[in-house]
């Protein structure tokens, strides 16, 4: 992990409240793994004060570019959305541990399940799995049709299903409804999204398939020092044992963390 300035090479809105931001720095390369994240300083002043954790959506090692997708949700991302081409963004990266891609063997099928702003890291996961000869199937869930993004990009890598809560695009309902309705067959699950979604995936497939969950959590430092993002572990649910989402995660095998 290091502190570096990324120069903005592209920044555009791709869905309602959803922005795609690309930065470039000579240190951005293939050592940035799918599932890792960066901790981004927004604005130059002291307000907003804390960095914002954002997942890595894609890496282009040839151009030393990193793509991230974020949703404008609060003041920090509002300020970030005003960033323009050529501006420098200070990031700590790459942080955390990525998805264990080695768990998928050539010829196997990986189901990638994303929810809302948990969808972006799965794009990089999918690309890398495909390179290794793993079949990828995507199920991405959104609130509504206007917030759907990257349907085409995912489709280019493998079969892609969309669920929206209000049914405006794809299947009406949740990602789990799609998996069942489509009778999808797979060897393992890589998933990222809101806790209720992760819980539903874990309940259905833990013990039956290999399942890896990437957690979203409020963070302070992003490097393991502040203890803001700790979770209890399932082995000791009420005790002093813990994991930190930022430095032990954000990806955990199912059955490890109390969701």
């Amino acid at each position: 992990m290091r502190k570096l300035d990324g120069v903005v090479t592209k920044h555009e809105q791709i869905a309602e409240k959803i922005f795609e931001l690309t930065i470039q720095n000579e240190n951005i390369d293939a050592s940035f793994k799918p599932g890792q994240f960066l901790h981004l300083k927004v604005g130059a002043g002291m307000d907003p004060l804390l960095r914002r954790p954002i997942s890595i959506c894609d890496i282009d090692e040839k151009t030393n570019e990193l793509k991230m997708i974020y949703r404008v949700e609060g003041r920090g991302t509002e300020v970030l959305s005003k960033t323009v081409y050529g501006e420098k963004l200070n990031v700590l990266a790459p942080l955390g541990n990525g998805f264990p891609l080695d768990e998928a063997e050539q010829g196997q099928t990986a189901l990638l399940v994303g929810g809302g702003i948990g969808v972006p890291p799965l794009y990089y996961v999918s690309k890398e799995l495909k390179k290794r000869g793993v079949n990828v199937v995507h199920v991405n869930g959104f609130q509504t049709g206007n917030s759907v993004f990257y349907e085409r990009e995912f489709s280019e890598l493998g079969p892609t299903f969309i669920a929206t809560v209000d049914g405006t695009t794809g299947t009406k309902g949740f990602v789990t409804d799609v998996i069942e309705q489509e009778n999808l067959d797979f060897d393992m699950v890589f998933t990222c999204g809101p806790i209720p979604m992760l819980k539903a995936i874990e309940q259905r497939y833990h013990g039956k398939k290999k399942v890896f969950l990437s957690l979203e959590q409020r963070m302070g430092c992003g490097i393991g020092a502040c203890f803001a993002c700790v979770c209890h572990v399932q082995e000791d649910p009420a005790g002093a044992s813990y994991v930190k989402v930022c430095s032990d995660g954000p990806v955990f095998p199912s059955g490890e963390v109390v969701l």
Partner: protein, 310 residues
């Protein structure tokens, strides 16, 4: 001459900059970014007798130029800190200030007695001001008599000098400072966080699971500066100042208020190399201010009449 060297009870500091307790863990995360030996000292995370998980999440909430935290003294417990965390820090040439906490006076005594014997622990920081634990903590630090009592008991067993960390959540901080000085405190560290709260508009509930939390960051600096200005004129023990330091100018301001060293807290979360960056900036700033040694600035806002040079 090292213009940044400062000598305090138990502490020979090569410079007056140290990460504040709770904002640096036990150093490991920051060692990925720089050599910890460049630091004046390290104030490690509060240690209690038993390991603690702390409060449920959310534990942090951002505020204007600051943050609220209610971590709740999560730590691995005295045995592990003593046998693993502190020995790991011995590879660095840096004195450790061990922050100790508890829910009863006896807890503080047990932790102080043992942890003060660790070879690299050169001083203790008595945490009687944590706002985030229901029992104890701040309860000791807001009443002069209890603050003095716990100070006296810890002084009896500690092998190293004892600094008492004061709470700003009091009406008259000078009376607390004087009480712990009379009880034998070797120094003061101030301030701990200010009690605060944020409420979410959607849920209409406090954001922090604990309800209240401690406010830190640039937002609190003027409060700390004011309190150090008041206390430093009334006590004869040194003060390590903290609260919202993000740059060398802030350090100078703390010295002028009456601090003899400065801790950097929340800023470590924003910028992991903030401490070495400030240390590097300081000599240039002293040049600009035509100051030979940083200690000349201690209490400069009230000690002498300084006439601006035209």
């Amino acid at each position: 001459m090292n213009r940044l060297a400062v000598e305090l009870p138990g502490l020979k500091l090569k410079n007056p900059i140290m990460p504040a307790s709770g904002c640096f863990g036990f150093g490991k995360e920051y060692a990925n970014f720089y050599d910890l030996s460049v630091l004046g000292a390290i104030m490690v995370k509060a240690t209690t007798i038993e390991s603690r998980f702390g409060n449920p999440t959310p534990r942090v909430a951002e505020t204007a130029a600051g943050m609220l935290n209610a971590i709740g003294l999560q730590n691995p417990g005295l045995e592990k800190v003593y046998s693993e965390e502190l020995p790991w820090l011995e590879q660095y040439d840096v004195p450790i200030i061990a922050n100790i906490a508890g829910s009863k006076v006896e807890d503080y005594v047990v932790v102080a007695e043992k942890i003060s014997t660790a070879p690299n622990v050169h001083a203790l920081e008595l945490n009687i001001s944590c706002p985030n634990v229901k029992e104890g903590g701040i309860a000791f630090g807001t009443v002069p008599e209890t603050a003095a009592h716990v100070t006296k008991e810890v002084k009896k067993v500690s092998s190293v000098p004892v600094y008492v960390k004061l709470s700003p959540n009091v009406t008259d901080i000078v009376s607390i400072a004087k009480a712990v000085e009379a009880a034998g405190a070797d120094g003061l560290t101030m301030i701990n966080t200010l009690l605060g709260m944020r409420i979410d508009l959607k849920s209409r509930q406090p954001i922090l699971s604990n309800g209240m939390g401690g406010l830190s960051g640039p937002a609190v600096k003027p409060v700390s500066i004011r309190m150090i200005y008041q206390v430093s004129q009334e006590v004869n023990i040194p003060i390590i100042g903290m609260g919202g330091v993000t740059k060398a100018e802030d350090v100078i301001e703390y010295f002028l208020a009456g601090a003899s060293a400065v801790a950097v807290g929340t800023a470590n979360f924003v910028d992991p190399t903030i401490c070495p960056d400030i240390i590097e900036e300081l000599p240039g700033l002293l040049d600009k201010m035509k100051v030979g040694h940083i200690t000349e600035l201690i209490g400069g806002s009230w000690k002498t009449e300084w006439v601006a040079q035209s």
